[in-house]
Symmetry: C2
Subunit: 147 residues, 2 copies
Protein backbone atom coordinates (compact mmCIF):
# COMPACT_ATOMS: atom_id res chain seq x y z
CA UNK A 1 0.00 0.00 0.00
CA UNK A 2 1.27 3.44 -0.91
CA UNK A 3 0.09 6.86 0.17
CA UNK A 4 -0.15 10.38 -1.19
CA UNK A 5 0.85 12.94 1.46
CA UNK A 6 0.83 16.73 1.41
CA UNK A 7 1.19 19.70 3.78
CA UNK A 8 0.26 23.33 3.28
CA UNK A 9 0.02 26.32 5.62
CA UNK A 10 -2.74 28.90 5.26
CA UNK A 11 -2.35 32.46 6.53
CA UNK A 12 -5.11 34.72 7.88
CA UNK A 13 -7.30 31.72 8.51
CA UNK A 14 -8.14 29.24 11.29
CA UNK A 15 -8.77 25.53 11.66
CA UNK A 16 -12.51 26.31 11.83
CA UNK A 17 -12.43 28.23 8.54
CA UNK A 18 -10.50 25.45 6.79
CA UNK A 19 -12.91 22.92 8.28
CA UNK A 20 -15.81 24.87 6.73
CA UNK A 21 -14.10 24.76 3.33
CA UNK A 22 -13.90 20.96 3.66
CA UNK A 23 -17.36 20.28 5.03
CA UNK A 24 -19.79 22.54 3.17
CA UNK A 25 -20.92 22.35 -0.46
CA UNK A 26 -20.03 26.01 -1.03
CA UNK A 27 -16.59 25.54 0.50
CA UNK A 28 -15.76 22.42 -1.49
CA UNK A 29 -17.08 23.99 -4.72
CA UNK A 30 -14.76 26.93 -4.11
CA UNK A 31 -11.51 25.03 -4.42
CA UNK A 32 -12.01 21.46 -5.77
CA UNK A 33 -14.85 21.37 -8.29
CA UNK A 34 -17.80 23.68 -8.87
CA UNK A 35 -19.89 20.57 -9.60
CA UNK A 36 -20.15 19.41 -5.97
CA UNK A 37 -23.46 18.03 -4.69
CA UNK A 38 -24.78 15.62 -2.08
CA UNK A 39 -24.83 15.30 1.68
CA UNK A 40 -21.97 16.67 3.76
CA UNK A 41 -23.21 15.17 7.04
CA UNK A 42 -21.57 12.24 8.82
CA UNK A 43 -22.42 9.13 6.77
CA UNK A 44 -23.55 11.22 3.80
CA UNK A 45 -22.12 10.88 0.29
CA UNK A 46 -20.69 13.89 -1.54
CA UNK A 47 -20.51 13.71 -5.36
CA UNK A 48 -17.58 15.56 -6.94
CA UNK A 49 -17.70 15.80 -10.74
CA UNK A 50 -14.99 16.87 -13.21
CA UNK A 51 -14.70 16.94 -16.99
CA UNK A 52 -12.96 13.53 -17.05
CA UNK A 53 -15.27 11.90 -14.46
CA UNK A 54 -15.72 12.11 -10.74
CA UNK A 55 -15.62 10.70 -7.23
CA UNK A 56 -18.26 9.82 -4.63
CA UNK A 57 -16.98 10.18 -1.07
CA UNK A 58 -18.69 8.93 2.06
CA UNK A 59 -18.05 11.25 5.00
CA UNK A 60 -16.65 8.91 7.66
CA UNK A 61 -15.18 11.39 10.14
CA UNK A 62 -16.09 14.93 11.13
CA UNK A 63 -14.26 16.41 14.10
CA UNK A 64 -14.88 20.17 13.95
CA UNK A 65 -11.72 22.20 13.49
CA UNK A 66 -9.52 19.10 13.67
CA UNK A 67 -10.15 16.27 11.27
CA UNK A 68 -12.22 15.18 8.27
CA UNK A 69 -12.12 11.79 6.54
CA UNK A 70 -13.79 10.48 3.40
CA UNK A 71 -14.04 6.94 2.08
CA UNK A 72 -14.15 6.74 -1.71
CA UNK A 73 -17.27 4.74 -2.60
CA UNK A 74 -17.36 5.36 -6.37
CA UNK A 75 -15.01 6.67 -9.04
CA UNK A 76 -11.98 5.28 -10.86
CA UNK A 77 -11.24 1.67 -9.80
CA UNK A 78 -7.90 2.76 -8.31
CA UNK A 79 -9.72 5.15 -5.96
CA UNK A 80 -12.54 2.93 -4.70
CA UNK A 81 -11.87 1.85 -1.12
CA UNK A 82 -9.13 4.43 -0.55
CA UNK A 83 -9.39 7.06 2.19
CA UNK A 84 -8.81 10.82 2.09
CA UNK A 85 -7.96 12.40 5.45
CA UNK A 86 -7.54 16.04 6.44
CA UNK A 87 -5.90 17.05 9.73
CA UNK A 88 -5.96 20.68 10.84
CA UNK A 89 -4.02 22.62 13.46
CA UNK A 90 -2.88 26.16 14.15
CA UNK A 91 0.87 26.90 14.33
CA UNK A 92 1.60 30.58 14.87
CA UNK A 93 0.17 32.56 11.95
CA UNK A 94 -0.47 29.45 9.87
CA UNK A 95 -3.31 26.97 9.79
CA UNK A 96 -1.56 23.75 8.88
CA UNK A 97 -3.37 21.24 6.67
CA UNK A 98 -1.98 17.70 6.67
CA UNK A 99 -3.49 15.75 3.80
CA UNK A 100 -3.29 12.04 3.10
CA UNK A 101 -4.86 9.82 0.47
CA UNK A 102 -4.13 6.32 1.66
CA UNK A 103 -4.80 2.74 0.65
CA UNK A 104 -3.59 2.84 -2.97
CA UNK A 105 -2.94 -0.73 -4.05
CA UNK A 106 -0.02 0.09 -6.34
CA UNK A 107 2.14 3.11 -7.22
CA UNK A 108 1.05 3.27 -10.86
CA UNK A 109 1.26 6.23 -13.23
CA UNK A 110 -2.27 7.36 -12.36
CA UNK A 111 -1.26 7.61 -8.71
CA UNK A 112 1.72 9.79 -9.70
CA UNK A 113 -0.75 12.05 -11.52
CA UNK A 114 -3.20 12.22 -8.63
CA UNK A 115 -0.40 13.11 -6.21
CA UNK A 116 0.60 16.16 -8.25
CA UNK A 117 -3.01 17.13 -8.92
CA UNK A 118 -3.87 16.98 -5.20
CA UNK A 119 -1.00 19.43 -4.54
CA UNK A 120 -2.48 21.80 -7.12
CA UNK A 121 -5.93 21.57 -5.52
CA UNK A 122 -4.44 22.13 -2.05
CA UNK A 123 -2.92 25.34 -3.38
CA UNK A 124 -6.40 26.21 -4.68
CA UNK A 125 -7.78 25.63 -1.15
CA UNK A 126 -5.03 27.85 0.26
CA UNK A 127 -5.85 30.55 -2.27
CA UNK A 128 -9.59 30.36 -1.55
CA UNK A 129 -8.97 30.87 2.16
CA UNK A 130 -6.33 33.58 1.79
CA UNK A 131 -7.81 35.60 -1.07
CA UNK A 132 -11.44 34.48 -1.37
CA UNK A 133 -10.79 32.92 -4.77
CA UNK A 134 -9.72 29.36 -5.53
CA UNK A 135 -9.24 27.57 -8.85
CA UNK A 136 -11.78 24.74 -8.76
CA UNK A 137 -12.53 22.59 -11.80
CA UNK A 138 -13.32 23.31 -14.58
CA UNK A 139 -11.00 26.30 -14.09
CA UNK A 140 -8.27 24.26 -12.42
CA UNK A 141 -4.58 24.41 -13.33
CA UNK A 142 -3.79 21.81 -16.01
CA UNK A 143 -0.74 19.70 -15.23
CA UNK A 144 -0.65 17.28 -18.20
CA UNK A 145 -2.58 15.45 -20.92
CA UNK A 146 -4.51 13.84 -18.06
CA UNK A 147 -5.93 17.23 -17.01
CA UNK B 1 9.66 2.97 3.35
CA UNK B 2 7.39 5.52 1.72
CA UNK B 3 7.73 7.37 -1.56
CA UNK B 4 6.85 10.73 -3.05
CA UNK B 5 5.49 10.32 -6.59
CA UNK B 6 4.47 12.90 -9.20
CA UNK B 7 3.58 13.13 -12.90
CA UNK B 8 3.43 16.16 -15.18
CA UNK B 9 3.12 16.59 -18.94
CA UNK B 10 5.03 19.31 -20.79
CA UNK B 11 3.83 20.70 -24.13
CA UNK B 12 6.01 22.01 -26.97
CA UNK B 13 9.01 20.16 -25.57
CA UNK B 14 10.77 16.81 -25.94
CA UNK B 15 12.44 14.25 -23.69
CA UNK B 16 15.81 15.67 -24.78
CA UNK B 17 14.86 19.21 -23.76
CA UNK B 18 13.56 18.04 -20.37
CA UNK B 19 16.72 15.99 -19.95
CA UNK B 20 18.79 19.14 -20.53
CA UNK B 21 16.80 20.96 -17.82
CA UNK B 22 17.67 18.14 -15.40
CA UNK B 23 21.33 17.68 -16.31
CA UNK B 24 22.81 21.16 -16.81
CA UNK B 25 23.53 23.85 -14.22
CA UNK B 26 21.62 26.44 -16.27
CA UNK B 27 18.65 24.13 -16.65
CA UNK B 28 18.47 23.21 -12.97
CA UNK B 29 18.95 26.85 -11.92
CA UNK B 30 16.00 27.76 -14.13
CA UNK B 31 13.38 25.82 -12.21
CA UNK B 32 14.67 24.54 -8.83
CA UNK B 33 17.11 26.98 -7.29
CA UNK B 34 19.23 29.72 -8.82
CA UNK B 35 21.97 28.72 -6.38
CA UNK B 36 22.97 25.50 -8.18
CA UNK B 37 26.64 24.59 -8.50
CA UNK B 38 28.86 21.53 -8.83
CA UNK B 39 29.42 18.72 -11.29
CA UNK B 40 26.56 17.41 -13.39
CA UNK B 41 28.52 14.47 -14.85
CA UNK B 42 27.95 10.84 -13.88
CA UNK B 43 29.36 10.44 -10.37
CA UNK B 44 29.54 14.19 -9.83
CA UNK B 45 27.87 16.01 -6.96
CA UNK B 46 25.49 18.89 -7.57
CA UNK B 47 24.93 21.37 -4.71
CA UNK B 48 21.45 22.89 -4.54
CA UNK B 49 21.05 25.73 -2.03
CA UNK B 50 17.92 27.43 -0.69
CA UNK B 51 17.18 30.01 1.97
CA UNK B 52 16.43 27.32 4.58
CA UNK B 53 19.37 25.05 3.61
CA UNK B 54 20.20 22.73 0.77
CA UNK B 55 20.88 19.33 -0.72
CA UNK B 56 23.91 17.66 -2.28
CA UNK B 57 23.00 15.10 -4.91
CA UNK B 58 25.32 12.54 -6.45
CA UNK B 59 24.41 11.87 -10.08
CA UNK B 60 24.01 8.10 -10.19
CA UNK B 61 22.23 7.60 -13.51
CA UNK B 62 22.24 9.54 -16.77
CA UNK B 63 20.43 7.95 -19.71
CA UNK B 64 19.96 10.74 -22.28
CA UNK B 65 16.34 11.55 -23.01
CA UNK B 66 15.12 8.78 -20.74
CA UNK B 67 16.20 8.72 -17.14
CA UNK B 68 18.15 10.64 -14.48
CA UNK B 69 18.77 9.56 -10.89
CA UNK B 70 20.36 11.32 -7.93
CA UNK B 71 21.42 9.95 -4.56
CA UNK B 72 21.15 12.47 -1.72
CA UNK B 73 24.57 12.60 -0.07
CA UNK B 74 24.06 15.66 2.17
CA UNK B 75 21.17 17.75 3.43
CA UNK B 76 18.43 17.26 6.02
CA UNK B 77 18.83 13.93 7.86
CA UNK B 78 15.51 12.69 6.42
CA UNK B 79 16.87 13.15 2.87
CA UNK B 80 20.30 11.56 3.22
CA UNK B 81 20.37 8.18 1.48
CA UNK B 82 17.11 8.76 -0.40
CA UNK B 83 16.96 8.68 -4.20
CA UNK B 84 15.37 11.09 -6.67
CA UNK B 85 14.51 9.60 -10.06
CA UNK B 86 13.23 11.21 -13.25
CA UNK B 87 11.75 9.15 -16.10
CA UNK B 88 10.96 10.82 -19.42
CA UNK B 89 8.87 9.75 -22.40
CA UNK B 90 6.91 11.34 -25.22
CA UNK B 91 3.15 10.69 -25.44
CA UNK B 92 1.51 12.57 -28.30
CA UNK B 93 2.01 16.31 -27.77
CA UNK B 94 3.22 15.86 -24.18
CA UNK B 95 6.61 15.03 -22.74
CA UNK B 96 5.71 13.04 -19.66
CA UNK B 97 7.86 13.39 -16.55
CA UNK B 98 7.50 10.65 -13.93
CA UNK B 99 9.15 11.75 -10.71
CA UNK B 100 9.88 9.71 -7.62
CA UNK B 101 11.68 10.49 -4.38
CA UNK B 102 12.07 7.12 -2.72
CA UNK B 103 13.59 5.64 0.41
CA UNK B 104 11.98 7.88 3.05
CA UNK B 105 12.18 6.08 6.36
CA UNK B 106 8.91 7.43 7.75
CA UNK B 107 5.95 9.47 6.51
CA UNK B 108 6.53 12.38 8.88
CA UNK B 109 5.27 15.94 8.54
CA UNK B 110 8.44 17.06 6.74
CA UNK B 111 7.81 14.40 4.08
CA UNK B 112 4.27 15.75 3.61
CA UNK B 113 5.80 19.20 3.06
CA UNK B 114 8.42 17.96 0.61
CA UNK B 115 5.78 16.11 -1.42
CA UNK B 116 3.77 19.29 -1.97
CA UNK B 117 6.88 21.37 -2.58
CA UNK B 118 8.16 18.93 -5.22
CA UNK B 119 4.84 19.32 -7.06
CA UNK B 120 5.31 23.10 -7.03
CA UNK B 121 8.85 22.77 -8.41
CA UNK B 122 7.67 20.32 -11.09
CA UNK B 123 5.19 22.97 -12.20
CA UNK B 124 8.15 25.40 -12.27
CA UNK B 125 10.03 22.94 -14.53
CA UNK B 126 6.95 22.70 -16.78
CA UNK B 127 6.71 26.48 -16.95
CA UNK B 128 10.41 26.87 -17.75
CA UNK B 129 10.12 24.47 -20.67
CA UNK B 130 6.81 25.80 -21.99
CA UNK B 131 7.36 29.53 -21.52
CA UNK B 132 11.09 30.00 -20.96
CA UNK B 133 10.51 31.13 -17.36
CA UNK B 134 10.37 28.99 -14.23
CA UNK B 135 10.00 29.98 -10.58
CA UNK B 136 13.22 28.72 -8.96
CA UNK B 137 14.17 29.60 -5.39
CA UNK B 138 14.41 32.23 -4.00
CA UNK B 139 11.44 33.25 -6.18
CA UNK B 140 9.57 29.98 -5.63
CA UNK B 141 5.91 29.71 -4.69
CA UNK B 142 5.54 29.63 -0.89
CA UNK B 143 3.29 26.85 0.39
CA UNK B 144 3.53 27.28 4.17
CA UNK B 145 5.56 28.47 7.16
CA UNK B 146 8.19 25.95 6.04
CA UNK B 147 8.72 27.85 2.78
Amino acid sequence: MVDILHRIGVTNSSPDKVYDALTTIDGLAGWWTRDTTGSVEQGGVIAFRFVPGGFDMRVVELTPGERVAWLVVDGPPEWIGTTVTWELKQEGDYTIVLFSHTGWREPNEFMHHCSTKWAIFLMSLKSLLETGTGSPAPDDVMISDWH
